[in-house]
Symmetry: C2
Subunit: 333 residues, 2 copies
DNA sequence: AGCCTACTAGTTAGCGCTAACGTAAACTAA
DNA sequence: TTAGTTTACGTTAGCGCTAACTAGTAGGCT
């Protein structure tokens, strides 16, 4: 590896002091235009780039942020990560990606490691720690954006960013009702998930508004993937053969459910309507194309990162953002 | 944000010198067992974690690595990234994720930013820079694993990790031939892709071995996604209605091609067999399930990261690894 | 001339940590 | 005993950079 040039190297080559070069690099006043140009020339010639590590040590700004997700393989988080990275790139920030693999211990270790790396901010998706632990952890970072998690007590350096799950689920149910469907089931996600709770509420609200009875036999829980959806739908259709609509926790579950219906010879959408959540790319790949509650995930990632940047820079920003999902009607309902 | 404790804080609290605490933290000899335990107690009590920034400045080891991918949203790279992150976690390393978005300029900027961050190593997927530029860039990093790219001149601090594309494509063609298929088309990926070249060679070799003629009308190029595959397959079937098998550059293209076939009323696999490449999760989600050349992508990511770690630690390691893809026969061929 | 401002540059200290060396005490060997 | 070795710590310097202060010079004003 080539020895990288330091400020001192440039300073020596230019016959000036360290600080003069530093001022040029950081676009600060106090250097004559001639000298500035001369130094700038040397900088590009010698291929100098500031060592962010050293700079970070003195400024305590590392221009890097942490992104914690359960699993970057999940298209939901992959899209968000992409948005975060894109926005980070706009601001010349770097992103540490960490997976928790839904493991609370690993989640804590992820936080530790990011803290040790002295990140300027943190984007934390689907935090699973207790409210108390959450408080402790949030206090360790200069700025945090919480995705998919709420805060009882607002904190000035923490922003929350959530999808309006309640409304989304209600809209979906209303859409089913509008199609004349009566036995509307809900295949929900993990019980520890906040979104799951809120969507269940929305589902109930939708049924109530339509004067349909709540029936717990129509509600199921499953891991938020296609296998989970498949198994759960199979079980559901076994215990309630008269189901004519399934609202799924997310698109993966919806796809699994769709396959279960097809395996049982039920036509989608004629016999059974299916609505998913998130609108991941898969939604338009499968046949029939999935009707789903569209959320612009990449955009959410960008919003999160930009908000984080604003907080780091000291610009105030809203304590909580709620994203409205939009029903994209395709073929499955 | 709580002021984080430093070595000096611990030292003062323990009434010893900085170095004694440092030795304890780094598990180095030269501290009595009693004192070590006492300090360890203080460390956990005060919640001390070493500042990796400061440590990195003096040791020039940052315990972080860079991962450059074209697009982390692409399941291919998402899987790899997951493997990399998993293995990095094993070694307490952190991963900077950067997308190039297939943009050569952004690729160079990504390299710059990682260099400024002083990463210990780099995992670089599908490098698109010229051979000359590649040499320049590689020289900037202490250790590099190149995925999907080869090196003319081996470098001691660079490892390459490639899928045996040639053999994979040949195996696929042979499989088609074994099913009695005669008009075997190939929907290849971007022409700048090294994999695309090698797969084309393997495709040709497979045909030649089977005494089938090469026919450039059977070969198409497309963007490596479902839309690309759909359009390319549509065009292909229009100009060669007698095609009875399609080898696709990757699974996304294969899925697109499958949808095109279905749109044209061709039955897969009866009328047309389809084989993909990579075995992404989608391969088992769609119907009919995709026959594809399976590559354990997460495993590749792990191998890459572990090799990088070995190189950083000074353990010698192979200059090039070639991964054998394995044909997973499912329903589409 | 004397004083003030404005600009340009240099000097010093220190961010948190570790490598390398220094040192005092205890222990060993004949 | 005396010199040599080991153990257990402390001291110093410096990684590359920037904040904050200092200093020199030119120009303008009374």
């Amino acid at each position: 590896m080539k020895n990288r040039p330091t400020l001192a190297d440039i300073a020596e080559a230019a016959g000036v002091s360290l600080m003069t070069v530093s001022r040029v690099i950081n676009n600060k006043a106090g250097v004559s235009e001639d000298l500035r140009q001369e130094i700038l020339g040397l900088v590009t010639e010698m291929g100098y780039h500031p060592n962010q590590i050293a700079r970070g040590l003195v400024t305590s700004q590392t221009t890097s942020v942490g992104l914690i997700v359960p699993d970057n393989t999940n298209p939901f988080f992959a899209q968000i990560a992409r948005g975060v990275e894109d926005a980070a790139y706009e601001h010349a920030y770097s992103v540490f990606l960490v997976n928790t693999v839904e493991d609370p211990i690993r989640e804590l270790e992820a936080l530790d490691s990011l803290w040790q790396k002295d990140v300027d901010g943190l984007i934390w998706c689907s935090a699973r720690v207790s409210a108390e632990e959450l408080g402790v952890q949030l206090r360790r970072f200069p700025a945090v954006v919480l995705l998919n998690r709420e805060l009882e007590v607002p904190l000035s350096h923490v922003m929350t960013l959530n999808v309006h799950d309640y409304r989304g689920a209600r809209v979906a149910v209303t859409h089913f009702v509008g199609q004349g469907r009566q036995r509307i089931a809900f295949l929900n996600g993990p019980s520890h998930s906040l979104s799951a709770h809120r969507r269940l509420q929305g589902y109930h609200a939708g049924l109530t508004t339509a004067n349909l009875p709540l029936d717990s036999i129509l509600e199921g829980c499953c891991p938020p993937d296609t296998e989970g959806g498949y198994e759960a739908a199979l079980a559901l259709l076994k215990r309630c053969p008269d189901v004519d609509a399934i609202l799924a926790f997310n698109d993966l579950v919806a796809v699994g459910a769709m396959q279960a219906c097809q395996a049982l010879g039920r036509n989608v959408p004629k016999d059974i309507g299916i609505i998913g959540f998130d609108d991941i790319p898969l939604a338009t790949i499968i046949k029939p194309q999935l009707t789903t509650l569209h959320v612009n995930l990449m955009h959410i990632g960008k919003i999160a990162m930009r908000a984080l940047f604003d907080m780091v820079e000291g610009v105030t920003c809203p304590a909580a953002i709620l994203i409205e999902p939009e029903l994209f009607v395709r073929d499955s309902a």
